[in-house]
């Protein structure tokens, strides 16, 4: 199976390239990549959380979505591995997150940056490059 994300070289921070067959999958994979790269090991029962975001454009929607996930993850001590979208457009996102409590975490992601942030349409789907401050 093709890996859904790659870690790109960057001296200090975490730069990733994420793939998705659709924009929805791209967002889901970006979230999963963030937790995988942070070395998170989940445990226990599945928990659900509602999420609703509105942003001016798709790039900001991605930043806002991942920032909200970081906020929820830190305050609830949870990592999320799936999302069921109720609504999804270039500037709105609504759905239900599925996650578990965090048992172990290697790294704290401090924030989602705008540095060279991009989403590109490719033949086989979408590709995003994101740099996180760690």
């Amino acid at each position: 199976m093709r890996k859904f994300f790659e870690i790109l070289p960057h001296k200090a921070d975490l730069k990733i390239k994420v793939f998705g067959a659709s924009k929805k999958e791209l967002f889901l994979n970006a979230m999963k990549a963030m937790f995988e790269a942070a070395g998170i090991k989940p445990e226990g029962k599945v928990v659900k959380r509602k999420i609703k975001i509105q942003s001016p454009d798709i790039l900001q929607l991605l930043v806002d979505f991942l920032s909200e996930i970081l906020y929820l993850s830190e305050t609830e001590n949870e990592a999320y591995f799936n999302i069921k979208f109720k609504k999804f457009s270039d500037n709105t996102l609504e759905g239900e997150l599925f996650g578990k409590k965090i048992k172990e975490q290697g790294l704290i992601i401090k924030g989602v940056t705008y540095h060279n942030l991009e989403i590109r349409k490719k033949k086989e789907g979408y590709l995003a490059t994101i740099l996180f401050d760690v």
Partner: protein, 479 residues
């Protein structure tokens, strides 16, 4: 590709890219580096980022990089920019997500032989007392009201509440409290993140180290600072945790949008800024000051727990705070330009303030000597105590902040074995208390520039003078 030929050599430790290099530069870009360290910069994007900083509206004289410069996002790490007050740019990217990430040094009256038999126990006890805060924070959750007090009162507030000695606040940069802080401008989300994080270390390059004074370079100043050979000292390196990260997230988002309103165009969105004297600019600054105060309070609370552990294992001997410095911050400071005193908004992103002797903002204790500057090394290597010098006036009284990365975290994990690093340090007699070998690999000494070379450069460039070299006895990375 930028190369050495694009620079004008000002002297052996200072290089400049002229304003004419790129049409959008408002001022030249300067880097303090030896020839060797300069050449290392060409391997990443850091010089390009330094040139981008030179495009900030209202930037004065030049953008500056310290010898520990490395690639960041927006600003390079080790980047400094001063803009004209009150209408120059204020940029959250010039501070970063970890507002007031910084370092403090606690000094004891004991030498390493006197604690040798207790060292392992002490390291273990400190690790128990100071959690990393990964996954969960401290047991006690503070109320929003308590958080507000901390945001506006900083380390000073905690000292008043009994979490420290009276001198602790005095021995912090800005006395551990920025007056511009207004808790109203910090979101509920940010406050919520901070509720159980006062007194937690964080991850990445944040650490606690038990060290000893390995070498004294300036006996007179070392004596004034209370430093002596083989003395046991404790270094704390951390910042404003999730609360600061949320403030940065909130305001960066706002600035990315509103900067268009002010007609600002920049080569990197991450440099997003607005004029300081706008409602968005002032609100960010008020909130950033809260983040900075939270970080000082965090290091103060960690100090409280370190002292508890110290008392339990070592006894009543005191741990005094030498000084506490911020290395991710924006400050309003007065500087002299062409003989005129001017207020400037100084952004230091991975750079340390270093005031010289007689500077009016220093406490009496350091008025004669100049400000103590604490430079942490990478894990297992040396750290330094320096003192501010008048010559650094040209760099807005600023020096480096550490060694500076030279290898990415991903490459470090791939090529370095954390287990081997711990074993090598153990063979050198250094104890490592860490729960993840992966974390050790990421922060291995090989992933960083040589701190001795970096400090040698700032010393020879005259930005600060070496006072003492510290070496680790035990590295603690939080539970």
């Amino acid at each position: 590709m930028i190369s050495k030929k694009d620079f004008i050599k000002i002297n052996d430790y200072l290089w400049e890219i002229p304003k004419s290099f790129r049409s959008d530069m408002r001022v030249p870009a300067r880097i303090y580096a030896s020839e060797k360290l300069l050449e290392e910069c060409f391997r990443d994007e850091s010089i390009k980022q330094l040139i981008n900083v030179a495009t900030l509206p209202g930037i004065v004289k030049y953008s500056i990089a310290m010898p520990d410069i490395h690639e960041g996002y927006g600003f390079p790490i080790g980047g400094v920019a001063a803009t004209k007050y009150p209408d120059g740019a204020i940029s959250p990217g010039g501070v970063g997500f970890d507002i007031n990430c910084g370092v403090r040094l606690l000094i004891s009256n004991l030498n390493n032989q006197e604690i040798a038999s207790q060292l392992d126990k002490l390291a273990e006890e400190i690790q128990k007392e100071v959690p990393s805060g990964l996954g969960k924070g401290r047991e006690v959750k503070l109320s929003t009201e308590q958080i507000n007090r901390i945001l506006e009162g900083g380390a000073k507030y905690l000292v008043e509440k009994g979490y420290g000695e009276k001198e602790d606040a005095e021995n912090c940069e800005s006395y551990g409290k920025l007056e511009w802080a207004e808790a109203n401008y910090v979101s509920e989300k940010a406050k919520n993140r901070g509720r159980n994080q006062v007194g937690t270390l964080g991850s990445g390059n944040h650490f606690l180290e038990i060290q000893k004074v390995d070498q004294i370079y300036n006996e007179e100043i070392a004596k004034e600072f209370g430093l002596f050979p083989n003395q046991v000292v404790i270094m704390i390196h951390t910042g404003s945790r999730g609360l600061g990260h949320q403030i940065a997230t909130d305001y960066l988002r706002e600035m990315v949008f509103v900067m268009q309103k002010y007609g600002i165009r920049l080569p990197d969105k991450e440099l997003a800024c607005v004029p300081f004297n706008t409602k968005e600019g002032e609100r960010y600054f008020n909130a950033m000051c809260c983040g900075a105060n939270f970080a000082w309070a965090n290091r103060q609370m960690i100090t409280f727990y370190v002292r508890k552990a110290w008392e339990r294992i070592i006894g009543k001997e005191k741990l005094t705070l030498l000084y506490d410095v911020a290395h991710n911050i924006a400050k309003i400071e007065e500087h002299e330009i062409n003989g005129q005193k001017m207020k400037l908004i100084v952004h230091r992103k991975g750079a340390t303030r270093a005031f010289p002797p007689e500077h009016p903002e220093l406490p009496d204790r350091y008025r004669k000597t100049g400000q103590p500057v604490i430079i942490p090394g990478s894990m297992g290597t040396a750290s330094y105590v320096l003192v501010g010098e008048e010559k650094s006036k040209e760099a807005w009284y600023t020096v480096c902040h550490g060694a500076g990365r030279t290898m990415s975290r991903a490459k470090a994990i791939k090529t370095i074995s954390g287990r081997n690093v711990v074993e090598t340090l153990r063979q050198k007699g250094i104890i490592v208390k860490c729960y993840s070998f992966k974390g050790v690999a990421e922060e291995a000494p090989q992933a960083y520039k040589n701190v001795d070379e970096v400090v040698d450069t700032v010393h020879k460039a005259g930005l600060s003078q070496r006072v003492a070299r510290l070496v680790p006895l035990a590295v603690i990375k939080g539970e």
